[in-house]
Amino acid sequence: MRLLPAKRGPKIATILIVVLGYAAVLWFYVFPYLDRTFINRPALG
């Protein structure tokens, strides 16, 4: 089973969408969670 389209154009487009989507999820959801949970909570209480 092929995961990516055979033609070059659609193949590059698919890879770009997956990479950008992954990066966006990390940047807007995963990283802020890691930041506020493990790294940055300077206030007390």
């Binding site: 990390l26 949970t37 493990f38 790294i39 909570r41 007390l44 209480g45």
Partner: protein, 208 residues
Amino acid sequence: MKTLRTTGNVFIFLGLSILFFVLYELVGTSIVTKAHQHTLQAQFDQELANPATLNPAFTGTIKVTDASGHPTALARLLIPKINVNVIVVEGVTLDRLAYGPGHYPQTKKFDQKGVAAVAGHRTGWSAPFFNLDKLVRGDDVIIETLKATYTYRVTDTEVVTPTHSEVLNGNPKSHATTQLVLTTCTPKFTAKNRLIVFTDLVKTVLRK
């Protein structure tokens, strides 16, 4: 061979993800805070230039957020020894600290007698308190408000766990009636403990 190759690819993928996180933490968050600070510094300078708010007798309420809900400039914090020059906003939620160091709402305002406290980031978000551990007894911490410039002197530092909020009551060894307490994360790059810097007010210069 195929398993080894797949494992290698997974590690490369994870390594790139971690590098991306470092980029987010050290660059991405700081870009956000620097943009906010640029606006807040300009706003504070503009307020200082407005004679209506410069009168020491000014007792009006200073707005802590603007019409769109963004925090407004509360004061300017200067720590010459570690090159800190930042605008303090009201509140210590992480949303507020993205704008700069935040004043603990449950503590006294800078223009009041008593203990005021400020929290700031040590990692990312422009890391205003990155070198806070370099402060020692005798170093100056300056707060500029619309009413006056207050010079505080460091009296003590302490490391406590995050639940020790009694440090916001000030330095128990100090007899000064007006104090400023600075808090940040320690060790660097973790939220394990809090570094506390106690300071006493030593000089007040009212604006003319």
